[in-house]
Symmetry: C2
C-alpha cells in the first residue's frame, strides 16, 4: 500500500484533490468540517505525500545541499550539526555531501546537487583553485554560500574567519610567553584562507621578534596523520623550535602524540597551539591551546545569507568576516624549567 496518493485521500473524503491539497498543506483553512474529514481520511489511509511531485510543481524542494571537504574532520562535522539545526527550524532538510578532500569528488557532488535536488548549496571548498570551476558552474545554477574555506575568485556570498586577527592572537600569545622561534604546521592546499594565515603568521612573528625558519614551515594536510608526520620532520631538522603553531587541531594532536613517542613532552619541551577548537582539544593530554572559530555563528550567518539569496537572487554578494577567540590551555602553559 505505498500508492496512497492525494487523489486516494480526496475521493475517500469526498472532495477534490485541490481541496485536499489546500487542507493538508495548510494553504487555506476551508470549512472546518470538510477539513476534519480530509485529515481523518489522510491519517486513516496513512497518506504520506510525495515530496518529489510537490517539488516539481512548486519549483522548490525544501532541501539544502552542503558540501564539506572531509566528514572525518570534527570541525566540519560540528559545523554541519549547527547548520542542520538552523535548517530544521526553517523546515528544511540537509543534503550532506563529503568531498573526501578531492576536487573531482566535490565536482561530482556539486553537479548532482545542481540538477534540481536542492534549493541552495552551502560549501566549504576543498581546494582554493581546483575547486573553482565546479563551484562557478554550481553558482550559476543555484544560490551558493561559501563558509569557512572559500575560493577567492568566485563571486558568491561568503562567511569566513578573520584570519589575520586570528593568527595575530596566536602569535601574540606566544610572544607574551617570551617565545623567540617557532614552527608552523599547515595545509595551504586547503584554501585561500590558509595562505592568508601563513602570511599573517610570518608578519606577526617578525613583528614580535619570533624567528620562523623556512624549513620550519611544514605544508601538508589537516589530519592527525600529517601532524604525526610533521613531528617526525621537525625532529629531523635537528633543532626543535620553542613553539609549534598548527593550522588545525587534528594536526596539533597528531603532532603532540608523535612528539611524545619521541620522548618530547608538551608543554615542558615545546609549546603547541592548534586551530578550530574541536571538542577533542579539551580532552587530550595535555589539553590544547587553540583558536576557537565561532562555528555556531558561522553556521547561522551562512544559512541566513543562503535564505536571503534564495528569496532574492539578484542581491549583491556579501562577505562576512567573523572573529575568532583564543582559548589557552595546558599545551602552552609555562612549566618550571631549569635552564
Amino acid at each position: 500500500m505505498p500508492d496512497v496518493t492525494l487523489a486516494t485521500v480526496a475521493s475517500a473524503a469526498g472532495v477534490s484533490t485541490a481541496t485536499a491539497s489546500r487542507i493538508l498543506s495548510g494553504t487555506r483553512a476551508g470549512d472546518p468540517r470538510t477539513a476534519a474529514r480530509v485529515r481523518q481520511a489522510a491519517t486513516q489511509l496513512g497518506y504520506q505525500g510525495n515530496s518529489i511531485a510537490r517539488a516539481l510543481r512548486r519549483g522548490r524542494t525544501g532541501n539544502i545541499g552542503m558540501v564539506i571537504p572531509s566528514i572525518s574532520n570534527p570541525f566540519f562535522t560540528s559545523l554541519v550539526e549547527h547548520v542542520e539545526l538552523d535548517l530544521a527550524q526553517r523546515d528544511l532538510n540537509l543534503f550532506l555531501c563529503d568531498a573526501r578532500d578531492s576536487p573531482q569528488v566535490e565536482a561530482m557532488r556539486l553537479a548532482s546537487l545542481t540538477r534540481g535536488t536542492v534549493d541552495g548549496v552551502l560549501i566549504s571548498p576543498c581546494q582554493s583553485t581546483a575547486s573553482q570551476a565546479a563551484l562557478d558552474l554550481t553558482a550559476a545554477a543555484v544560490p551558493v554560500v561559501q563558509l569557512d574555506r572559500y575560493v577567492e575568485g568566485s563571486q558568491t556570498d561568503r562567511v569566513i574567519l578573520d584570519d589575520d586577527q586570528a593568527m595575530r592572537l596566536v602569535v601574540e600569545h606566544l610572544a607574551a610567553l617570551d617565545i623567540k622561534n617557532a614552527a608552523f604546521v599547515t595545509s595551504t592546499a586547503g584554501s585561500s584562507s590558509a595562505l592568508l594565515r601563513l602570511a599573517s603568521v610570518k608578519r606577526w612573528s617578525s613583528h614580535h621578534g619570533i624567528n620562523l625558519r623556512p624549513d620550519h614551515v611544514l605544508d601538508g594536510q589537516f589530519s592527525l596523520e600529517w601532524g604525526a608526520e610533521a613531528a617526525d620532520k621537525l625532529m629531523r631538522t635537528g633543532a626543535l623550535p620553542q613553539a609549534i603553531i598548527c593550522g588545525g587541531d587534528l594536526s596539533a594532536i597528531g603532532l603532540i602524540t608523535r612528539l611524545a613517542h619521541h620522548g618530547i613532552s608538551v608543554p615542558r619541551d615545546v609549546l603547541v597551539t592548534g586551530f578550530d577548537d574541536i571538542s577533542l582539544a579539551s580532552l587530550t593530554m595535555p589539553t590544547l591551546t587553540t583558536l576557537r572559530q565561532p562555528r555556531q555563528l558561522m553556521a547561522a550567518e551562512a544559512v541566513r545569507l543562503l535564505m536571503a539569496r534564495i528569496d532574492q537572487p539578484e542581491r549583491p554578494s556579501t562577505v562576512l568576516s567573523l572573529s575568532g577567540s583564543l582559548i589557552t590551555r595546558e599545551s602552552t602553559r609555562r612549566t618550571v624549567k631549569m635552564s
Copy 2:
C-alpha cells in the same frame, strides 16, 4: 538561464522531446547523426536535466538515505565513507542524516526520507527500543537495511557484528595476560547489540576467572566525555581493576586521558581496550588495543542487501552477522612491573 529544459534542447536540435530524452538518457541509440546534433545542442545550451522531474516520472530518485546516531562519532563517519563509495559506483547519491542521538530527531529524518525523497534507507538506529516505532513506519514505506546497531523487533535486513565472538576475543586476550579483575565501560541505551555485549563480557569473564564487580560496570554514552566521566567514577570506587574494557574507542580514549590526569598510566597501572578501531586509535598515546569492526565489508553488504530489496521487495529478510578481529596495541602491552 536556469530554465533550459529538455524541450529547449529538443527544439534547438530539431527533434521531439522523446528523441532527445532517449539519446541523452541513453535509453536507445538512434541515428548517430541526430544523436550528435542533440548532444551538441545539450552541451551548447548547458542542459543539466531535472532530476526531480525524472524521479517523478520513473518512480526512482537515485538517492539512498542513511541515518546515523551521531555524525561526531568517527566509527559512523567512516561507515558513511565506505557506503558513499559503494553507492557512487552504482550512480546513487547518499542523503546523510544525523539523528544527534535523539529518537525524536531520528523519527523526523526518517519521516522526511519516506516521502519519496529516497529509494531506500540505511540506518543505524540510535536506540534499541525508542527507535522502533519510526523504523517500522519507514520500513512499511520503503526498503530499509539496518547496519551495525539494530532494533531487535523490526523485520528488516540487518548487517551486524557477531558480538559474542567479538567480546570473547577481547576477554580471552586479557585472560591470556593473566588479568583477574576488570571493569566494563559501555552504553546499553545504544542498541540491542550493547546488551548482548554486556552479557558476553560477563559470561566470558566468569568463564576465564575474571572478576567483574557490579559497580565496575559503567553505563553511559559512546563519547570522549563519558569515557572521562567513567574514569572519575572508577577512581572513586577505590580499587582500580587490572583492566578496563570499553565498548567504544572514543570512551576508551577519553578514559585513558582522564586517568592520565589522575596520575594513572596505561598500560603500566591498568590495561585498557577499546572497540571499533577508529583511526584515532592508532594515533593516541598509548596506542589502543581494540576490536576492529569490518566496516568496509559491513558497508558493502548493507548496500548489496538494500539494492537486492529495492529490486525485489518481497524477498525474505536476511541477517548477516560479521566477525570482528582483535588489534593489539600498546594499551594492553605488559610492561615490566615490580610486585
